[in-house]
Symmetry: C2
Subunit: 455 residues, 2 copies
Amino acid sequence: MEKFNTKVLPGFMELLPEEQIEFDRIKAIIAETYEQFGFTALDTPAIERRKTLLAKGGGETEKQIYNVENTRGGGNEDGSVKADLSLRFDLTVPLARYVADHFNSLSFPFRRCHIAKVYRGERPQKGRFREFYQCDIDVIGKDKLSIRYDAEIPYIIYQVFKKLNFGKFTIRINNRKLLSGLVASLKTDANTTEILRIIDKVEKVTQEDFIDMLHEQGLTEDMVDTLLKFIAINGTSDEVIAQLRGLGIRDSLYEAGIDELETVTSLLIEMGVDSTYFAIDLSIARGLDYYTGTVYETKLDDYPKIGSVCSGGRFDDLASFYTSEKLPGVGISIGLTRLFYQLREIGLINATHKTTAQIVIIPMGDENIHAALKIARELREAHWKVDVLLESLTVKKKFQYVSKKDAQFTIVIGSNEESCGEVVLQFKRGDEIVKERVSTDVLAERITSLTKGDE
Amino acid sequence: MEKFNTKVLPGFMELLPEEQIEFDRIKAIIAETYEQFGFTALDTPAIERRKTLLAKGGGETEKQIYNVENTRGGGNEDGSVKADLSLRFDLTVPLARYVADHFNSLSFPFRRCHIAKVYRGERPQKGRFREFYQCDIDVIGKDKLSIRYDAEIPYIIYQVFKKLNFGKFTIRINNRKLLSGLVASLKTDANTTEILRIIDKVEKVTQEDFIDMLHEQGLTEDMVDTLLKFIAINGTSDEVIAQLRGLGIRDSLYEAGIDELETVTSLLIEMGVDSTYFAIDLSIARGLDYYTGTVYETKLDDYPKIGSVCSGGRFDDLASFYTSEKLPGVGISIGLTRLFYQLREIGLINATHKTTAQIVIIPMGDENIHAALKIARELREAHWKVDVLLESLTVKKKFQYVSKKDAQFTIVIGSNEESCGEVVLQFKRGDEIVKERVSTDVLAERITSLTKGDE
């Protein structure tokens, strides 16, 4: 018999039930929080036209894209064999296409969330995935979009990570207009893109090298001095804003950046975000060509090596390749697969239960199955998730089933109990396994009160 | 500027927000019901090794499979360009691979559900999709699996379709052992596979042709007579079982089939399934090579043209290509994308709300935003989904936003109301739009009581 490889492909995540339950719990918290803010979930195809996906131009994206083809009619639309289809590499390009295509059916500002898998043919390595979940929210405006939405996005992220409970975190906020305005205010003939690129690398080089690189681009001592002062700014949000104003730079873009940062940070406080959970961080850039205003990164304070667990920002025009409508927006994304992988690596994933069932019912003999099914039905009507073991196994194997599943509650029904209208309810209290005989009449009540902890 | 095609690809489903909300509501009911029975959701990669996917052999599947490749390292595991990867065409083959690979980490009987997209390069036509959701449940045993699970599966389907509320439905049940045993009992030298194939086509040919075809295979008058009697059997479950016994066929497989059908139908009644919602239907085969015992189809009584909305059955060995462990199982699948498409075609999808938000808050002026955010926060804490319009729009455009979103409740806050600690709460009562001034102190309460209908 030919042996087939059953291992999951390198670069793909596949979880055991107990880990999957925990992954899904995290995903559900993210989805519920997004929905609490009125974001409607969309679901676009994983396969798109390659040309449409690559509208913005290739580069690294083109190298990583997975192409899809089918030898029959499943290839091109005209039925030819060589397909022009690819798997999506993010959820933003499909959103742009969707909004352009359905423009007249949507109402703006349009809030959408999308939690789904995307595909990138990266070289497999630790913590890098070829298939991974992105959890995106974006608000898309028509012609304009209030800066207030730039505050709502980190407010939502604050709610998500508070609920996820991975410890203290900090949402770092910057505004791309500051640096662009600052460089513009220098009124230098130097290549501004090159200067922005050098500043983006400031943390990776020595101060000496940094100054040399700026001089090489033709910046004067004064100009370099202004840039160094800018980069050195730090403190609370209010302090940073005061220092930014204090530099005395007269440039409308720069000033707009300060005003926007001020609005966003003060709105965050007004919305109820604890001020220790966010900070202005002027070193955040998030790439040089997409975001145009507010940008975000989020780090878990206790695990700085993980890097940003949630990033995004404001963009001027979502779908300029697909429509002439102007669609400014602001959004953010959680890379859930990578985040889960890293949390698991540092031991923060507590995967114990091997079943979604909260209650496992064990009929001791086949003659107890009738009673087991009746109890299961009543408990399900009381909204419990219940697994009844219907297989005829030895007692030993029945209890192996119980211990391997490790559900919160186990109900054992033998003929002795059944004749008294009772069952044995098992659960853990600390490390101890508690067994109680409970009348079937009050079983659902008893389980509820145990869950609430008010025994 | 180059024009990019933004239309969704033919054969792919893409929904507007109001339809997507309804699609997701249906999907959530299916998922919740599966979980109520202790089925743990798995999530395997959409991309698998082509060889592994096609282990069972090609045929129609091979023609429809989507191959995946990437010009860089994302192709083969050894880094070569021509990839050996494909998109999954169902969720059963990945389940077989998963169970074979993680065999020692799972406890049996293993209950898993999987709701995800699969891919088939079919020629696009009405109601046929190249990307579609399957909603699968399977129970997998180790060496053996009790027939009782064959009753639990249609019980779960009964719960799902009762909750989905698409009207009366019938779960049709058969057992493959009956026909196999019947043909074996004939003790003919004829090709039994060919005879099964002819019987499978009984509804598509005239009785005369049917008899001729059986004679051509070498069956005697008596044999044909027995088959005709078998096919003519109908009535309630009890009547059908009595008639099956009445044929007096002595064959252990045939007799096992009757016993199994009897166990399944009597357990269904015991579990609480209304007997008008299921029926034994001896004409169901579900293909000739996969299922070995119980088989299911489900039809909506009022919409017979839709065909089976949920099908499955018992199989002897899930993963014989991947492991020497014997893994019998029973499962069923709902083809959700096709079902949704067909329900929409016949007008059964009632998509109204264009937002997930239950409440939309409209601050009349920028000065009311502070109050709007405060109310939004309180309502979210009371578990409502709330969208606050943060854009500064004209009054006309603000009310366009309200009417386009069509949320259940709208809260309007102007300075007049705000100064009295009140808001205007709007909602529909029949076709009438009701407006009430409500104190912010009792707002959450008022909305809750309106939702419960106990005004």
